[in-house]
Every structure is written in C-alpha cells, then in structure tokens.
Assembly symmetry: C2
Homo-oligomer: 315 residues x 2
C-alpha cells in the first residue's frame, strides 16, 4: 500500500476518495465524468469555502478526519443560512506529493461522515499538488419553491434569534494556543463545528426575514445583516447563557470576559436570524431586536468595545 500521495498518483488518489460513495435519484452523474449532474427542485443555492493548512487548522491539533468534517460543515452552514436544503458538494484537494495517504484516508472518511450528518452527497472534485494542503468545498442546495433568506430583509421591529453554539470554538482555540488540551468540549468544538443542520429551513418556513451563519463572530456577522438591511441591531447582554467550559476558560486566561467568546468567536457556524415579532421556532433563543437607525450592532444599546471578529490578511 503506497505511503504518500505521490506514490499513488492522481488517478489512484481519486479512485480511493470516490470508491463506493453513496448516491441518490437526484444525482444523474456522479464522480468520474467531466461534470457531475444533479436535478434540483427550484432555485439552486451555492457557496464555496477554502481552508488552508497552517491557517485554518494546525496538524498538531486537528486530524485529517477533523479537517474533512470541518470542510463539509462550514460550507453546508452557508446553505442552511440561505434557507436551502443541502443537496450535493464538490471538493477540491490541493496537497503536497509527500502528504501521507493515511492523512488523505482520514480526511476522506471525515468528509463522508459529515456529508451523512449534513445530508449532502459528494458528487465530484479535483486534486492537484500544492506547497500546502488547500481544501475548497463548494456546496449546492435547493430552494424547492421557497425564496432565499438573504442578509437584506431584516426590518425594524423584528426580533433576532440564534440556534447553535456561540464562542465554543473560540474558547477551544484559546486554550490550544496556550498549550492546553482541555476543556475537551471546547477543544472538540474548535476541531469540528456542529452547525444546527436542518434549522435553516425551519427558520425560512417560520418567516425569517434575514439570516447568516456565524463564521466570523456574532457581532461581525450580524453586522453584515445590519449593513445589507440598513437597520440597527441591539443585543440583550442578559439573553446569553455562558456555558460552563467558557467560564472556566475565561477564568483560566486571567479573568477574561467570557461574553467576548460568545459575541466575537467564530467558526461554530450557529445560525442567527431575524424574525417578525412573535414566537420563534423551538430551540431558537431570542437575543435582541432590530431597530431603525444607522447600520450597527449594539449590546445593551452600546457599542461593544472588544475585537469585532477576525479578517483574513489582517493581523
């Protein structure tokens, strides 16, 4: 059995990754042709996300399996945020020839496992060599007659609600950065996000006026809704439950405010949505309100004076 990607070669690599993939009636052509072909119901939502070795993950913290799961989860979360039903994905894998096949097998198993959780089918991809591992996951969902839920529909009077974890991955990253491996729950949250699969459609059917997935941090991502909708969003500090591991991490880091994880931590891929005033779907938590005003996100009526979330290329 060959030890590295270079030993196996491109076609051998593709054969390994695509062997025995599940399919469905909606997939007319699967991996191995010039294109994959699928039959969507209604309009098609698409999103693409790239992860880079050493930038989005460290090999000492995340296994190939973790990386495969995260690549699928983080891209499918964008479909959820548009109110689309996840359908299929294609994966590009650029990697050094000396990459161990063991890593690729773990990665491939992680992709398959998360595809099952997320309800998508891997239908194609590309492989090539590169100086570092670069994974690009492009996902497709169907709207099935529903209108997409964009960032632009929030209106004054709406309530703001979230579903899913906030700040867990960031707390995990904080402890890993300091050389610790616990609390295990937040470290695992950094390695593999747990988007609230299925809740995007639930929100859309409940009348969500705007929605995002929280990838850069709650304040930053709600800021996108505020800007696109031309509204102000005011969050209620008291509405946030701080989980025990976050409190523990904040204390261990010298008394940092654990709310900072919740408000600015990215990578958990929770869903944040605006709904017309009234009940929100089961399991969603109301955290604030939409008001008329200059586009901004406030906390208890004030500007939050911490880090508003990270951008690539900015240190």
């Amino acid at each position: 059995m060959p030890g590295t990607v270079g030993d196996l070669g491109e076609f051998g690599l593709i054969a390994e990754i695509t062997a025995g993939l599940p399919s469905s009636q909606q997939v007319v052509v699967g991996p191995g042709d010039d294109c994959a072909v699928f039959t969507p119901s209604g309009a098609v939502a698409v999103s693409t996300d790239t992860m880079v070795q050493g930038r989005h993950w460290r090999d000492s913290w995340s296994s190939g399996h973790d990386v495969g799961r995260k690549a699928v989860a983080s891209s499918v979360a964008d479909l959820e945020a548009e109110g689309a039903r996840p359908l299929a994905l294609v994966m590009s894998l650029a990697l050094p020839a000396e990459t161990e096949m063991a890593w690729v097998r773990e990665f491939s198993a992680g992709v398959r496992e998360e595809c099952v959780h997320a309800g998508v089918l891997l239908v194609g991809g590309d492989t090539t060599s590169a100086p570092a591992i670069v994974v690009t996951s492009t996902v497709f969902g169907e709207l099935a007659g529903r209108a997409p839920v964009t960032r632009a529909g929030a209106r004054p009077g709406d309530v703001v609600a979230v579903r899913g974890r906030l700040g867990w991955a960031e707390a995990g990253l904080a402890v890993l950065n300091r050389g610790f491996r616990s609390p295990a729950a937040v470290v695992l949250a950094h390695r593999v996000p747990s988007p609230p699969y299925g809740q995007g459609i639930v929100a859309a059917e409940a009348g969500a006026t705007a929605m995002v997935d929280v990838s850069d941090g709650l304040l930053a991502d709600l800021g996108h809704i505020a800007a696109a909708s031309g509204v102000a969003i005011d969050l209620d500090k008291g509405a946030f439950a701080i989980a025990e591991p976050q409190t523990a991490v904040a204390a261990a880091l010298g008394g940092r405010d654990p709310l900072a994880f919740v408000l600015t931590g990215g990578d958990d891929h929770a869903l944040a949505a605006c709904f017309p005033r009234g009940p929100v779907p089961d399991g969603w938590q109301v955290i604030g309100a939409v008001r008329a005003g200059e586009p901004t996100v406030l906390v208890d009526g004030e500007t939050w004076d911490g880090d508003p979330g990270w951008q690539h290329f900015v240190s």
Copy 2:
C-alpha cells in the same frame, strides 16, 4: 491605493473583485450573501478545477490576466464537454498577504473578460491567505431538458471527431521551457486556452454519444471514454493537420515528431466527441472510429509508444 492584499484586507479585496459585476435574470442572489442563488433550466452540471502558482503557471510566463482567463476557460470547458449551457461560476482565491494588488486586479479583469467569452456570470467566491496562490473555479451549467453527454455512451461504429486546437499549448510550454518566447501563437495558447465555446451544445444536439474536453492530452482523454464506454478507439494518423508553428517547434527541438504535441498535449481544452456514423457538425473534424474490443486508444491500429499524457504527482 494599497499595494498588497494584506494592506487592503479581506473585505476590501472582495469589494474590489465584485464591484460592478454583470448579472442576469437567472441570478436571484449575487455575490455578498451566504450563498449565491440561481434558477437553472433543467438539470445542473457542475465541475471544479484548481490551479496552483508554480505548478499550473509560472509568474514569469503568465500574467494575472492570463491566469484569470485560464481559470475560467479550463473549468467552463468541462461544462461544454457535458453538453451543458454555461451559466455561473464561483471562484476561490487563496493567496499570500504580500501578493501585489496589481496582480489581483489583472486576475480579476481576466476572469471577467473570459466570463464574457464563455457566457458565464461570476456569482460568488471566497478569499483567504495561503503560502502560494491557489485558484479554484467551480462552474455551473444547465441541461435545459437535454440528457448529459457523459464519457460512457460511445458505441462500436461511432465516429470520433474533435473541435478546437490540439497540442498548441504543449508546443508553447516546450519553447518556454527552453527559454524562448516564440512562436507567439503557441506561447499564447499555453497562457490562455481557447475552448470552442458553444460547441458542446452543438455536439449534444447532433447526437454525440460521449464527449470529453482535452485537458490531459487527446490519447489520455479519449482513454477515459474508451474505459467508461468499454470500447476501443482507433485514430487515423492522416486525419490530423499539423499546424505550422507546431512543425517549427518540433524541428527546433531537434526533430521531435510534431504529432506528439497533437496526440499527447493537454491544456488546449478542445472537445472530442463520438457521434453515430454519418455527418458530424460543421467545423468538427473526424479523426477516428469506435470499435468493439478491450478499452484502449490506438493510432492507425497500433499502440502509440510515446508519453500518454501527464498526471499530477507523477514526475
């Protein structure tokens, strides 16, 4: 005006790339949301292609504009090869923070220019930092009620025909590799391919039974049809016109057989298709026939004893 990608930051970079992009009635949501959304007619064909700096292009030979055009052209060629009408694409751009914004602007202009040629709209993407520039283009086409033309439908008795250039890019790469910059026509062919846009649908409507785009080399790519269809393909050496620049390059390289460029050169993204016996569409050239037998590609009934095309990771 900032000089590098790092100066500008991720959101500034995205704003530059997406400013004033054209749209269409089929694009419901364009760049800037969690997903792009489009309304296809019929089934959706999708393909993804990755290009890596230093691997798929050299900065001393190819400008950012060339790279942008090539990224679009090489991926849209896969849609053509499935008989799909090109509709939209998303582009992932991973690049070092020290990349000059001048390169990104050229790249972006090249993407836009080739999108116009190819008839696709850029509807979204992702940017991130990476140790080398890695471009992933994922394209979507619509079948509009037609069946996809796969690699698996060739039948004994079919004729094999091509449309587009063969071996030009390879001849260009050969002279560049030896430090020359001419003949200009083949050097340009290496820098920017010219797929026969629109001819994929023409072939599909003419009853093509199988089709590929020639990215790895004619013998290698027809080999995919032979394997998927379970047929032998026999090419007629006399059917190939050798273009003057290829003859010149072959002579300059010490008497190399110029047919080698035509049979094994990749990256021109011509279309090769099988048709039921009878007339082929205008401008298509018959180059061989499909026969019953073990899956293989022969030239005048014999195995071609040169390089069958390249694979990534194999030197």
